[in-house]
Amino acid sequence: MEYIFHILILVSIYGILALAQNLVMGGAGLLTIAGAAFYGIGAYAAAILATKFGFNIFTTLIIAPLVAGLIALMVGSTFARFRDDYFMLATLGFLMIFNTVVRNWESFTGGSYGIAGIPKPHVFGFVFDTPLSFVFLAVVVLLIVTAITYFISRSSFGRVLNAIREDEDALAIFGYKTSTYKLMAFSIGAALTAWGGVLFASYLTFIDSRLFTVNESILLWAMIILGGIARNRGALLGAFLLITVPEALRFIGFPVDFAALLRQCIYGLLLVFLMLYRPKGILGKYKL
């Protein structure tokens, strides 16, 4: 039972991440690999504030998105002129630099030791330290993020974003300041991603830089694409499948070291076949 709670928590956290990044990738059509960086920024903001300054995790749920959003605003405005592949490369660069800085800045981020002993959230004397209570917390945050992303995709702001994705030049001719819209989407996406990071840090109580690498960003991509890009429902389904299916494979009973590689192999082939036979994903409407 505890194990199922654990899986539910992970699905919720990755659901948050996938929804948030889907807003950037699916909504605005910006190819970003910086997902893991904002995930990490959220986690580190919570961890540092909680362990060094004694903040409650609930307080960091408010501060961390602001930090991530501000950083995204700065990064995004620097990268504003890049499109498509170039934007992807630039965000990859940002992620790699973030990772290296975290690993080397020992006095602030714990360096290669990471940060241990991150507290669980507590409110009015109630501590979310059992898996079941944490499931509730994670699901509530997930619902909030779902609501926000649905609201955005139905709003006029969301419609402009979608139009930018389809034909940015045309929209620019109509007088929309497309770069501002993209920057907004990038920052909101980063801020929501940070929530996933806060929950993750508080749930595991330990983080280090190895948790926020390119592989994590690519996992988010895979979730969004598998479920169906530009569909909020798709991002949720993708997160659910890519967390639960590998966990299920764990129990089929291969030798342990082999099982990890087999998972990786299946995951790789899945991507290839998906691209060949169903590039819009399971629930997708929008074709990549």
Partner: protein, 287 residues
């Protein structure tokens, strides 16, 4: 003395990435997508060399030829069964990129299952790779071969590109593949050849890595990122751009280790990349 030694090291690392960037750039310019499966060909070449040369004691020259053929074939088959299908469908470059990433992941995992996660070295005895004194600095055999042989390879390629039928077909496809097809250039056949050649170049890199440092299944992804950066920094649309980028990268890495320390080296290619994209997004060299 340090300066001379580090210069030689930078040159040999630059040669290594030149070969990789040259092969990767071929696909980028002709098929117009970021082919991460290139890292898979790198691994296939290296591990095949290990299998033939070290495990089965095949003669050095035969082992190299077989491994290069193997890595070329890997790339060719990937084109035949995956990328050509997607290209014909006019899929977006993102789809091709993701498919190639999937292929790289699967290839690394399969090689990991066969050869294990620990470092695999090709040399039968490490002491066989003896050292040579070059005006007071030291280079080992593998580095000397790289510094002597790679420039030859580069110029042969430049010649093929500029003066042969295949080279002209290649350039026509790079310019505009649809026009090229209209004037009777066999696009599919030329692309097959390009993928094969690109694969052999990746395989060559893999073999060099296996002799010099040892291969691990994740080497494919580790090596492809700086290769991409070198190509983009030097100029994606230019044949010489990737080579220039490779040397810039090699020099920058050495300087970082000397002035900042080894733990910052991973970030260097990407700092250069971002600066470059901001200042001159088309890369240093234009077409």
């Amino acid at each position: 003395m340090i300066f001379w030694q580090l210069t030689l090291y930078a040159i040999s690392v630059g040669m290594f990435f030149s070969v990789l960037a040259m092969g990767w750039g071929l696909i980028l310019r002709s098929a117009k997508f970021f082919n991460l499966a290139y890292g898979g060909a790198f691994l296939v070449g290296g591990y095949m060399m290990f299998l033939f040369y070290r495990m089965w004691n095949v003669h050095f020259v035969f082992s190299i030829l077989l491994s290069l053929f193997g890595s070329g074939l890997y790339m060719l088959l990937s084109y035949k069964f995956i990328f050509s299908v997607l290209l014909r469908r006019k899929a977006k470059s993102l789809i091709l990129l993701i498919a190639s990433f999937g292929l790289l992941t699967a290839t690394s995992a399969i090689l990991g299952m066969i050869f294990g996660n620990q470092s695999t070295l090709i040399a039968r005895h490490l002491s066989d790779i003896y050292t040579v004194n070059v005006f007071g600095a030291v280079l080992n055999l593998a580095q000397v071969v790289a510094i002597v042989f790679v420039p030859v390879l580069i110029f042969v390629f430049a010649y093929i590109r500029s003066s042969t039928r295949f080279g002209r077909a290649m350039r026509a496809i790079e310019d505009d593949s649809e026009v090229a097809e209209l004037v009777g250039i066999p696009k599919d056949k030329t692309l097959l050849q390009i993928f094969f050649i690109s694969g052999t170049l990746a395989g060559l890199g893999g073999i060099a890595e296996g002799f010099d440092l040892g291969l691990i299944p994740t080497s494919g992804l580790i090596i492809i990122l700086p290769t991409i950066v070198a190509t983009v920094v030097g100029g994606m649309q230019s044949f010489w751009g990737g080579i220039l980028g490779a040397f810039i990268l090699a020099i920058a890495q050495q300087l970082t280790i000397v002035f900042f320390g080894g733990s910052w080296v991973q970030a260097v290619p990407f700092v250069i990349l971002i600066i470059m994209l901001l200042l001159r997004p088309q890369g240093i060299l234009k077409r």
